[in-house]
Structure formats: structure tokens, C-alpha cells
Amino acid sequence: MSQPSSAPVEGIEATPAQLRRWSRRAFCAWAAAGLAGFGAWRWLRTRAAVDGLPWPLRAAHRWNERVFGAGFSTSRLAPEYPRERAGEPKPNGRYGRPAAGWAIGPIQAEQPGEPLRVLSAAEIVAGLPRVEITTELKCVEGWSQIVTWGGVSFADFARKLGTNAERHPYVSLETADGTYFVGFDMPSALHLQTLLCDSMNGEPLSLNHGGPLRLISTVKYGIKNIKWLGRIRFVDERPSDFWAEQGYDWYAGL
């Protein structure tokens, strides 16, 4: 912008040689700073990858997870909408989808030191209070869709097991064939809007959308809302996660 500055009433007198020297020194110093910045960038870009990301960026994801995890509340809810606004989401995920004609088996619930439980989708939701929420599903790609989900709260299910399953810090959720798997931190799993879902927009959950039972969570992107649930494992180690292995954030929290 082309304005001359105010008149130099306060300036310091200097010889042209002095001025040149100062100017040169300043430019060299700033060029050095710029080179250091470029070096830092090169350093970052060339670090060893952890699951598809240079490790400092993985560390940044973990840092963000700690920052937002510290203020996380299981009762801070995503806004709900009138049911009329609900629509059908794009059925993006197909990994772990049972082949046509395959019978969908029961769901295994596992916990260290406890016997394996095998439950049908109907048995999982039986006896638990029905929950219906009309919320905005957010895809990691950036689109979103308001959908009405019905099912039971995951927290209720965990407590129904009666084995203090919710004391474990993580949950691993997997399709029956193990091709798709997501990891949840326990606070997110126990969030009031994390559901074991068997209905969508008032209809039984279709195969396309993950039926008979899928997970729905308003504190995670769609990638964590696993379809065709086959296995629920309460674990003490951070479980692996399909998209986190492809360079995405493990936490992926909203």
C-alpha cells in the first residue's frame, strides 16, 4: 500500500554506509530465519511415518485428543432436529459388508477375565430403554445428513453385562469377518448419544446401512459409526482402527 510514512521527525541520523550495513544485516538475519523455517518444514516432511503420517503429526493428533478429551462431557449433546428433516445418508462404507445370502450371525461381546457372551441383535437391545435421536451424521469427507436413529444406549448395554465392562478404557468394535474395525475411547462410547442402533428413520435398519445392528455416535465421524456389528471387545490397550491405519486421526472426535 503506497503511502509514505509520516515525516521523520524522530529519526536517527546515519551515514549511508551505516544504513546499508543495517539493512544488509537485517535481511541476512531474516533470510536465516526463513531458512530455519524451511529446514523445520523439511524435517517435518521427512519424519518416519506412523500409520501413514509423519510421527510429529501423529503426536499432534494425540495432543488434540488430550486437549479435547480433557473437556469432554458424556452429557454434552449434539443438537436434535425434528423428525421431518431426517433423510437417508449416503451408504459410504462397504468394508465388512456380509456377502449376499449370508446369514448374519450373533454378536460376540468380550471382556478380559470374563466368559465370552454371544448375543443376537434382538438380545442386545432387549430389556433396555429405547432411545430415538434425530441428529446430523457427519462424514469425515465433510458432508452431513440429518437421520433419525433408533436403538439402545451403548452405556446401558455395557452396564447390562454386569461385569463392570465400562471400567475398561477402550472398546474395539468389529465386523464379523474382521475386515472393518474401529476403536473407541470409553468416554466417547459412554456418551449419551452413542447408540447400538437397529432402526433408521423409523424402519428396521437395512443391510445397506449396517443392519441388523450398527453403532451410531454423535461424538465421532461416520467412519467410527461401524456397520454390521459382529464383535464388541472391552479392552485395556488402545485398539486398532481401520481408518487410523490409513493416515486418519484415531480419535476422530466431534
Binding site: S2, Q3, S6, W22, A26, L53, E141, G142, D249
Partner: protein, 247 residues
């Protein structure tokens, strides 16, 4: 160690601390401080940080890119045509984009907070924020820069148009951070997303602000090129040089 001290001194520029005497007339060239060191540091940090934010933001936007400008049902600008992504290698980089975006967002935010704190603490905001008469003056500046008005502009560190532009870009940065947080944590910060009209509206605003930044940078660079070396040097070395005022 002396190397580091020498480097830091050179970074700072001329020794402003030397006693100053008002000199009504002078034959020697004089230099006068213009941009304090901290403002220069935060300014130059912004160059790579904002570049990384825009680049990684475009990597994210590519995955869902519905925005376009329509006039009377005709698409005038599409964000973005395929050739654009191809030319800038912005395809299939969602995970990478998110990783860089959420790491560099901290640098962008902290740098901005340091800058604004400095403006407030040391009164530099006074030369930056528009004044009552800036509205009319800004129009004169626009006419002047478009060569439609010959009269010279009143001498000042920042003219009225600059006051609007620089104050505006600070507000844009603040809004970028807030809309960014709103779409990053739309459940935990649901009230923030609601304040911007919901998740998708906040995303659109966040995108529009990015376009605003890019336009700002284009105009800024053109103006810097036009203003010349003395002005540019002031953002590096901190001072402007004036030749003798006595002919």
C-alpha cells in the same frame, strides 16, 4: 552464543535505543522506526503458516466440494474445477490435510493471539483501527490507487483503506478460528456451531473466509510491489529511510 545474540540484534534492526534528538533540518539520511520487531515476527510467521492452512484446507475441501457461485441459475465460479485440483496436487489428501490443518491451526491461533495482545498492550492498535473519518478517506484512497484521483493522500503510517484492510483481516482470522472450532468439534462445541447457523453453514463460512484471505494476499502483494522498496524493507528491517529534508 555471541552468534545467536548477533543474529537476534540483526533481526531487530537498527539500535532504536540510541538517544534521539529532534533535528529540524538534516542533510544526512535518517531512518525512522516503522514496524516493531514483534509485529514483523508475527507477520512473517503468518506467511508459511497461512500457506499451510490454505493448502491443507484445500486437501480437506476436495473430499466434499459443493460450493459454487451462481448468477441467475448459471454457474459463474465452481470451487473448484478438476484441473485446479490436478494442477495443485490436491487430490486424495484428506487424511494428510486434516493432520496438517489441526497441527498448524495451533500455530495460526497462537501467532494471532500474540499479535493482537501486542497491539492492545502497546497501543499499536491506534494506528490500525479505522477512525470516524476513515470511511470517507478510504474512498479517496481507492480512487487514488485506481488513478482516478490526483490529490496526494495525507501522510500517515497506514492510510484509511489500510486501516480497514488490516483490521478486517484480523477479524477474519478470529472468525476463521471460531468457525474452524465449530466444524472441528460440532458436538462438544455445539453452541459455537449453532452460533454460526449450524455445521454446514459454519463450513461454508470457513471456506468463504479462506477465499477472503487469498484475495487479501493478492491485493496486499500488488500494493507492496507498488509501494516500493522503502516500504518493503520496513517489514524486514523495521525502519524507513528518509533522505535530507534540506535542499
Amino acid at each position: 552464543m555471541p552468534l545467536v545474540v548477533g543474529w537476534a540484534e540483526a533481526l531487530r534492526g537498527p539500535p532504536y535505543k540510541t538517544p534521539r534528538r529532534p533535528v529540524p533540518e538534516y542533510r544526512m539520511p535518517k531512518f525512522t522506526p516503522k514496524h516493531p520487531l514483534l509485529i514483523r515476527i508475527t507477520h512473517w510467521i503468518n506467511v508459511p503458516v497461512l500457506s499451510v492452512m490454505v493448502w491443507s484446507g484445500l486437501l480437506i475441501y476436495w473430499a466434499y466440494d459443493p460450493y459454487q457461485i451462481q448468477i441467475a441459475g448459471v454457474v459463474v465460479v465452481r470451487f473448484f474445477p478438476q484441473w485446479f485440483y490436478g494442477a495443485l496436487d490436491l487430490e486424495y489428501g484428506l487424511a494428510t490435510g486434516m493432520a496438517y490443518h489441526f497441527a498448524f491451526a495451533w500455530l495460526f491461533t497462537i501467532n494471532g493471539l500474540v499479535y493482537v495482545t501486542y497491539l492492545l498492550r502497546f497501543g499499536e492498535w491506534r494506528v490500525l483501527v479505522p477512525k470516524r473519518r476513515s470511511f470517507r478517506e478510504a474512498w479517496h484512497v481507492v480512487l487514488h490507487d485506481l488513478r482516478l484521483r490526483k490529490q496526494p493522500l495525507p501522510p500517515a503510517k497506514f492510510n484509511a483503506a489500510q486501516r480497514f484492510a488490516y483490521t478486517g483481516v484480523i477479524l477474519m482470522a478470529a472468525e476463521s478460528v471460531l468457525t474452524g472450532l465449530a466444524i472441528w468439534k460440532p458436538t462438544q462445541l455445539w453452541w459455537l456451531a449453532a452460533a454460526f447457523g449450524g455445521y454446514q453453514t459454519a463450513r461454508l463460512l470457513h471456506f468463504a473466509l479462506m477465499i477472503g484471505f487469498v484475495l487479501f494476499v493478492v491485493i496486499h502483494l500488488a500494493q507492496v510491489a507498488k509501494a516500493g522498496w522503502n516500504n518493503f524493507r520496513a517489514m524486514v528491517a523495521g525502519y524507513e529511510i528518509f533522505k535530507s529534508n534540506k535542499e
